[in-house]
């Protein structure tokens, strides 16, 4: 249907695809390989692509010596709290946005785009000052608050799309049958919205899990550091032998988002979530 490309055309296409696979894939293979290399192979003059004596020692070391375990727990706590709070706060508003037209709603959605434009520096200093004033600087609670606010515009936009997909007729039918407004929401809207709620929670979880800048500036106590910040500090004290645990920790830090992406693969490839997770 596109006209069959000539044999050389095809060959060129495969050559280009191979180029892409190397560019995209080899750095990943290298991370994997470094994570499983024993110290001796790490400091070798000419490192090999595949470790000859693979070991999980690096993972153990990352957790015991570098305290990445605690950082991972911190991240888990902060991300879970952000996810739950975001969904709780966004749920009523997204319903209102989807079902009633209001200027306020349009303004809230416009903020999604506008907020992308401004560099974090402009936000971070006042936020830092506000949090310090209310005693939430250098706490997980303060960080969670910021993450919820940061995820909210997009979460609202995403959730209200899910609400729109629930036919209004279903709600009307239920209320004709004598269900109260609250009952309609609980028995009809809520169950149908569940996938949307899960997707929104996941989005919020991942953006909190991956976030670096706010966590770096707002949390100063090393014991409270989240995983990205702990990993970044870890980079500072590298020696060649330390690269193994560093790679192992990085690999673990990627797992949650990988699972999320596997989960969202279909939506992603259809492009409907494009821009969901900011780099």
């Amino acid at each position: 249907m596109f006209g069959r490309p000539s044999r050389t055309g095809r060959a060129l296409q495969y050559l280009a695809l191979a180029g892409y696979l190397i560019f995209l894939g080899f750095p990943l293979v290298w991370l994997l390989s470094t994570a499983f290399k024993p110290p001796r192979e790490l400091v070798q003059l000419h490192p090999s692509l595949i470790p000859s004596n693979p070991t999980v020692q690096n993972f153990v070391q990352a957790f015991t010596e570098q305290d990445l375990g605690r950082a991972a727990l911190n991240s888990l706590q902060v991300s879970l709290a952000s996810a739950v709070l975001t969904v709780l706060v966004a749920m009523p508003a997204s319903y209102a946005l989807a079902r009633f037209r209001s200027k306020l709603g349009t303004a809230a959605l416009g903020w999604v785009l506008l907020s992308q434009l401004f560099p974090f520096v402009l936000l971070i200093i006042p936020i830092f000052l506000i949090l310090r004033q209310v005693g939430l600087a250098n706490t997980h609670a303060g960080l969670v608050l910021i993450y919820v606010v940061w995820a909210l515009p997009f979460a609202l936009w995403m959730l209200q799309g899910f609400v729109r997909n629930i036919p209004r007729e279903l709600e009307e039918a239920a209320s004709v049958d004598g269900a109260s407004r609250l009952q309609v929401l609980r028995r009809v809207v809520f169950p149908l919205l569940a996938p949307g709620l899960v997707a929104t929670a996941l989005f919020s979880f991942i953006s909190a899990w991956n976030e670096f800048f706010f966590a770096l500036v707002l949390v100063k106590t090393p014991e409270l550091a989240t995983l990205p910040v702990a990993l970044a500090r870890f980079v500072g004290i590298e020696g060649t032998a330390r690269l193994g645990p560093l790679a192992a920790g990085s690999l673990l830090a990627t797992l949650p988002s990988l699972i999320f992406f596997a989960f969202m693969q279909r939506r992603l490839s259809s492009g409907s979530l494009a821009g969901a997770v900011k780099g």
Partner: protein, 311 residues
Amino acid sequence: MTTLAERPDVERAGRTRRRTRSRSDRTAIYLLLLPSLLPILVLSVFPLLRGIYLGFTDARAGRNVEVSFTGLANYRELLGDELFWNSFKIGLLWALGVTVLQFLLALGLALLLNQQLRFRGVARVLAVVPWAMPPVVVGILWKLVYHPDAGLLNEFFHRIGADGLRTNWLGDFSTALPAVIIVGVWAGMPQTTVVLLAGLQGVARELHEAAAVDGASTWHRFRHVTLPALAPVIVAITSLDFIWNFNSFGLVYVLTAGGPGGKTMLPMLFAYEEAFRYGNYGYAAALGNVMVVIIVALLAVYLRRRLREAN
């Protein structure tokens, strides 16, 4: 089935009722919106406005520091600050370099993925993985690749017998910025590819077929069918990419922290240092303001030119 015909009226009646059901309804709407709008106002809109204002003051770190309005003093200082100009130039090179390369490579990949090729599945998965990685991890990953002794790249040059090309990629003055730009491209390609691929799948098949029947070559079909249909998507994603790249922080912070000798000191890193190392809040905020103005100006020029081309 008279109900079918009556339905629109019922609906309309319902809607007007909803509109006139006003007062209690309006309070209900506001109550529903409040839990979302309040935090956004307090922790996003207000800080932003205050941040913009701080750019016109001499605010500094520390408690009980008096802040006074200084008008354009910060901007006068910025004009004469060689470090700022240097950082600004680097930021522009970085943002433009990453955005353009990212777009070209992503377009190529999207076109390939849109074909019936073998290994397409693998490529699709691989194309998305960098997106799933936290920026800090991407930074660490490429630090491992660029590592002068234990790195993949130097080892590769050794294996192909090109030892002369081995270098300390992130530590050398001449290679640091290009090396960092490549990482930016790698990290940002997935989003761009996914968006472009979605756009490509929206290009009508019939147009291609018609063009093919008319004897248009592959290149002609790409140039005159695919590209025009894809144009709005391209403008949107390149604009967003540019904004994101100009404001990016974590990746380069981990890779080089602005070094060597400030060769990769992106404006965001520069502002971060001013604010949180030297405590010059006002000056850093002024820098943020300048960045917003520049981004908006560049985008305006770009979008206007695209619009004119479209007409």
